[in-house]
């Protein structure tokens, strides 16, 4: 629960930063990048990457002109795809410590 509240705050601040501060500099999508890395670097049995995709997608939807649900779906599918690739085809010894 603590993790979810922290990520809610984290993605909200990221969205604010993106729409107000970073717009003057670049078109980097920090939320997308964060979700990509969360999924890439978490242990394969954890699901926090998927939850963060839902939260990040929600804030992308809020601060964009699309209907709510559009980016939630896209980021969720992206997270699932990363997880699938990592579970099936890639083994990173540092992040997948065998029990």
């Amino acid at each position: 629960m603590k993790k979810i509240i922290t990520s809610l705050l984290f993605f909200y601040i990221l969205a604010l930063f993106q729409t107000s501060f970073l717009v003057h500099f670049s078109a980097l999508n920090l939320i997308l990048i964060s979700i990509f890395f969360f999924n890439l670097f978490e242990k394969s049995e954890e699901n926090f990457g998927l939850i963060s995709a839902l939260i990040g997608g929600f804030f992308l939807d809020i601060f964009s002109e699309r209907a709510i649900g559009f980016y939630i779906l896209i980021l969720f599918l992206l997270s699932l795809f990363i997880k699938l690739i990592l579970r099936r085809y890639i083994r990173i010894p540092i992040f997948n410590i065998s029990k």
């Binding site: 729409t19 003057h24 078109a27 809020i62 601060f63 964009s64 002109e65 649900g69």
Partner: protein, 263 residues
């Protein structure tokens, strides 16, 4: 088996919740925009200042040349201004003589940029919404009377503005050439790009020609500055000529805006 069923139930509830949120989309978005506005204002201003600082450091070499060029333009503009004042005076006298006093100018609502769309660079969020009498389709201009775009969606206290560069957005424009005006269609091509289309092949388009709105389509009021022609594309194979257009508004400088509520 049970945890799997639990997950499915949670997923179904999640989907239903998102669908449910869509029915109150305007209220939900308005709520988030309202609580975010104070932070966004500060961040927007800070970002603008920081970006200006870095820009000036990078461009310090070009500043002298730019300064000279601007001074020359000021001189030209002053001369033009004097000439236009004389014409205005003459115009008023003629109108008086014809008993046709000029109509009132636009009714405006002062608005401020709240944020930009995360994904779409051709969309901005501005203050002012249904509570302020803003309606979908109202034109948005800068204080210098440069066309910015059109209100696309309206929330309670905020409005989403589609910039004129929004892909598939088109409106009638004209290029004034003394007494003869060339008419065409300005079309957004996304990513802050704009081009001119449907201009007859025999019309003479030149680089730096000024483009202003025409009231033909009824989307925008007549005579608002849009931009200037950057590059003319003429081909005998096409029935019309096209041109790349540089919009006059600077996306990074859009702070105070006017929404035309009546014209």
């Amino acid at each position: 088996m049970r945890p799997k069923r639990g997950k499915i139930v949670i997923a179904i509830f999640g989907i239903l919740f998102v669908v449910f949120l869509n029915f109150f989309q305007d209220e939900v978005k308005n709520f988030f925009y309202s609580i975010s506005l104070p932070f966004q204002k500060v961040l927007f201003k800070t970002g603008d200042n920081v970006s200006d600082f870095f820009k000036s450091v990078i461009k310090i070499k070009d500043l002298k040349i730019e300064n000279e060029e601007l001074n020359r333009k000021i001189q030209e503009a002053l001369g033009e201004n004097v000439r236009l004042r004389e014409i205005e005076q003459e115009n008023r006298t003629l109108r008086k003589a014809l008993n046709a006093l000029p109509k009132n100018d636009f009714e405006l609502f002062i608005s401020h940029t709240a944020s930009r769309d995360i994904i779409n660079p051709d969309s901005i969020l501005v203050t002012g919404g249904l509570e302020n009498g803003i309606l979908k389709g109202m034109p948005v201009i800068t204080p210098e009377r440069i066309l910015v775009g059109r209100v696309n969606s309206v929330y309670k206290n905020f409005s989403e503005v589609s910039l004129i560069s929004q892909k598939d957005f088109s409106f009638d424009v004209k290029i004034s050439e003394g007494e003869n005006s060339i008419y065409g269609l300005a079309e957004g091509k996304g990513n802050l790009g704009l081009y001119l289309d449907k201009v007859l092949l025999n019309a003479e388009l030149k680089e730096k020609d000024l483009i202003i709105t025409s009231s033909l389509g009824g989307i925008f009021p007549e005579g608002i500055l849009v931009g200037e022609i950057r590059k003319v594309k003429k081909s005998d194979l096409k029935p019309f000529q096209q041109a790349e257009v540089s919009p006059y508004f600077d996306i990074k400088e859009l702070e105070t805006l006017f929404i035309i509520t009546r014209w």
